[in-house]
């Protein structure tokens, strides 16, 4: 019968149409913006800077090494190093960024900055509703707009954030152990000459005093 293929096709369409009243599978449209899909955990939109604790300036992990600036393919990151230092996430005194701008209209969300950052300071956000009326002001995110807390990071990427926290905790522990060992060695060194001088230095006591 001529037209049989078309009729079979229409049966298919009818199945889909009527099925959409009955099965959730067939009703796939999400009525955005009234309905929103939960973001998938590994999704990425644009970068943000992580800070630990409550103070975004003191807790910022970024040490202004500028590696992300160099590796960024479209060169959308602009960093100016500070002159003074502050303790970083592990406890070492490091520089921090005086200026950290990302031009989100240029950023292509490739995530290479996250990959090369040695300090787990820059991570990918999932926010995509970033419309602005002003192309340069609204889409040039500065240090403050980019800084988001570690708690936020845990909320959007729980697995990743947990792994990063574990790694940082390990580094902090190693750092502390090293500091303790250094302190103990210094204390031992300070104690040892004091123990040595009484036996050998009675005749030369004035000389050592002069030296000290």
């Amino acid at each position: 019968m001529l037209g049989r293929g078309i009729v079979e096709g229409m049966l298919e369409t009818a199945r889909n149409f009527l099925g959409s009243y009955v099965s959730r599978e067939r009703l796939t449209t999400v009525q955005y913006p009234e309905e929103r899909l939960a973001h998938i955990e590994n999704a990425r939109s644009f970068p943000f800077l992580v800070y630990d604790g409550a103070d975004w300036q003191a807790g910022m992990r970024c040490v202004s090494c500028q590696i992300c600036e160099k590796e960024c393919p479209p060169k959308c990151i602009y960093i100016e190093k500070s002159v003074d230092k502050k303790p970083d996430a592990v406890g070492r005194p490091q520089n921090y960024p005086k200026v950290f701008n990302i031009d989100v209209s240029v950023c292509m969300s490739c995530q290479i900055c996250v990959e090369v950052c040695p300090f787990d300071a820059i991570k990918m956000d999932v926010e995509y509703e970033l419309g602005a009326h002003d192309r340069f002001g609204g889409l040039l995110l500065d240090k403050q707009r980019l800084s988001k807390s570690n708690e936020y990071y845990h909320r959007i990427h729980p697995t990743e954030a947990a792994a990063v926290d574990a790694a940082l905790a390990e580094e902090r522990a190693k750092m502390q152990a090293k500091q303790q060992a250094a302190a103990a060695a210094a204390a031992a060194k300070a104690a040892a000459p004091v123990a040595a001088t009484p036996s050998a230095a009675i005749p030369s006591a004035p000389a050592t005093e002069g030296k000290a």
Partner: protein, 217 residues
Amino acid sequence: MSAEALQIETVKAQIEAAVPGCLLEMVTNPSVCAQHSLVVAAKDAVAVAEFLRTADGLKFDFCSNVTGVDWPAKETVAKVKVKKLVDGVETEVEETQKTVTPGYLEAVYHLFSMELKHGPLVLRQRTAGHEVGAEVASLTPVWKSAELQEREIFDLFGVVFTGHPDLRRLLMWDEFVDHPMRRDYVDPDDYEYEPTAHDEILRRAREHAAAAQEAGR
């Protein structure tokens, strides 16, 4: 790897036997994949290509990729010991000698065989000079797949393919003057404001800002 090198030697010998008087040069590829190439002179190119396409055992009926490469002229400075007369005495003097290796443009053809399922055989054609309009032979009469790709090389490098049925620009618009992929291409200074300028763009931004200040003064 050595099997590949052997294979290209045999192909070279076969071509030289079949196309008398052709000039072929083998270029070894130092990388791991060892895809060596044969440089063919423009006057023999079509004959060699036709032979490669039809010969038994070769049957390179599929020209997959045609690439243009720009090798600009290189100046090397070397310290050379030269015998010269200094105050009447013949002494060995160290001189700096500048040698200029002339530049050229290349069209690189990657050939495969769909019938015999082997490849790639890399064929290269080099121009005599580096100027815009330097000529090589077009292999479009042999493989139609080269048609659009040779047009692209003409468009972006300025290499003229003699014998091409329709040589005109492909990607740039017809009134465009330069050839963008050349190493000596200078892009026009149509600088636009960019908030996170780096390197070249930052340098130009500073020049523009200085010029604007001068103009404002």
